[in-house]
Symmetry: C2
Subunit: 117 residues, 2 copies
């Protein structure tokens, strides 16, 4: 009965990380906790998804990082949004909204009103 794969995020992780960093610069672990709390635990962020995502996002210049000390007095890498990241967030957010609109249109189509117009 082992669940095969969760596959929950569906390509939204970049968007979510960028959004998390608009609230405040945060370290990776903090981003994960913030996303889970903000989604009221609907989402769970795997570290094996999170850290690779942070690296590729940084590589693309949307975020930058600095080592610092966390609230719990541990070494942590703090990420902050760049201006490039801020505009990328807008693009991703509107792309997401278009997808939601498209899927919503499709899902609410009734078999009886199948008239292709």
């Amino acid at each position: 009965m082992s669940e095969p794969r969760a596959e929950l995020l569906k390509g939204t992780l970049d968007l979510l990380i960028l959004k998390a960093l608009t609230v405040a610069p945060q370290h990776g672990y903090g981003v994960a906790r913030w996303l889970e709390a903000s989604s009221r635990e609907l989402l769970h962020i795997e570290e094996g998804s999170l850290y690779p995502a942070l690296y590729r996002i940084e590589r693309r210049g949307w975020i930058r990082s600095e080592w610092g000390t966390s609230e719990s007095n541990r070494k942590a890498k703090f990420y902050h949004l760049t201006s490039k990241g801020r505009s990328r967030l807008q693009e991703e957010a509107s792309g997401w909204e278009r997808l939601v609109e498209a899927v919503t249109l499709i899902l609410k189509t009734q078999p009886t009103e199948a008239g292709q117009g």
Copy 2:
């Protein structure tokens, strides 16, 4: 100026195909046209995504196919939903709704109300 990748569907294609087949049994090409029309052309379905998706969905027993003749008098493979597919559609639809809810919650969080509670 070549756009690198569209990446529009974000893992929703199975859901969309299953939904399309609740309206009526359709062939692959028809599913694609129906999805585009129903989404008011917000989505474009690539055939290189569509056909592999149809095969894996059939392999999982959610749809079944029969060869027939299309409205334009061409040979076409018509797919119809199985009962397994019908319940899978419900699962995918509620999974999608949960994701939308989660992402919506996160996106609407204001930096000023960052109080983690």
